[in-house]
Symmetry: C2
Subunit: 122 residues, 2 copies
């Protein structure tokens, strides 16, 4: 495996795959690429994610050093999330993904897929 990894240089890919998989991470990073956001701001933008899942994904992204978490010691609590310097480096990838997805949609592939998402109940 070690040789395979070197030979085909898949290590970086495995790493990225590892970081970026997870049902909501790409979306979270995408939102945070515009602004830092508070927990509930993110939640509002991801109507299908449960609080638990969101917390989990955020913790994982934080652990991987892609986002930071800033807690304000106030009541009620206030927590802000944003991209770290490392995280910002992923923005161009997100933009390309967005471009690809948009083109893919235009060409009619995966229309039903998005329709599913868009037309599901609030």
């Amino acid at each position: 495996m070690k040789e395979k990894c070197l030979k085909y240089d898949i290590c970086p890919m495995i790493l990225v795959q590892n970081i970026v998989s997870g049902k909501w991470k790409i979306l979270i990073l995408w939102y945070l690429s515009y602004n830092t956001l508070r927990f509930n701001d993110i939640k509002k933008r991801l109507p299908y994610v449960t609080q638990k899942m969101l917390t989990q994904q955020l913790r994982s992204l934080e652990k991987d050093n892609l986002i930071f978490r800033k807690v304000y010691p106030v009541v009620p609590p206030k927590v802000e999330y944003g991209l770290t310097e490392v995280g910002k480096k992923i923005i161009p990838i997100l933009e390309m993904m967005h471009g690809f997805g948009a083109e893919y949609l235009e060409q009619g592939h995966g229309k039903e897929k998005c329709a599913e998402i868009v037309n599901s109940p609030d």
Copy 2:
């Protein structure tokens, strides 16, 4: 949700996320970006994936029109997989991912993560 989707234009992102998630898909696409490959060639390059899983991921990528599957009616069976025109458009994204991953590794983040992968038994 429809308005949210339009407002933040997340649809393409959800789509890409959908296509690209799945434990092995990015890696499979990465390999196929060099050559078309036979089933067992892919399997050899992904020592941890079981036959069932690989079949599953390939079917899913085929359904999303990113790869084609060409069956030669010979015995023993011969099946080739390769990127479609749509699939080829994702190559630049894969290359950026690779670049990001490599840089991330160089900076020491996620060293342990890759170490895990590389040092696990064959």
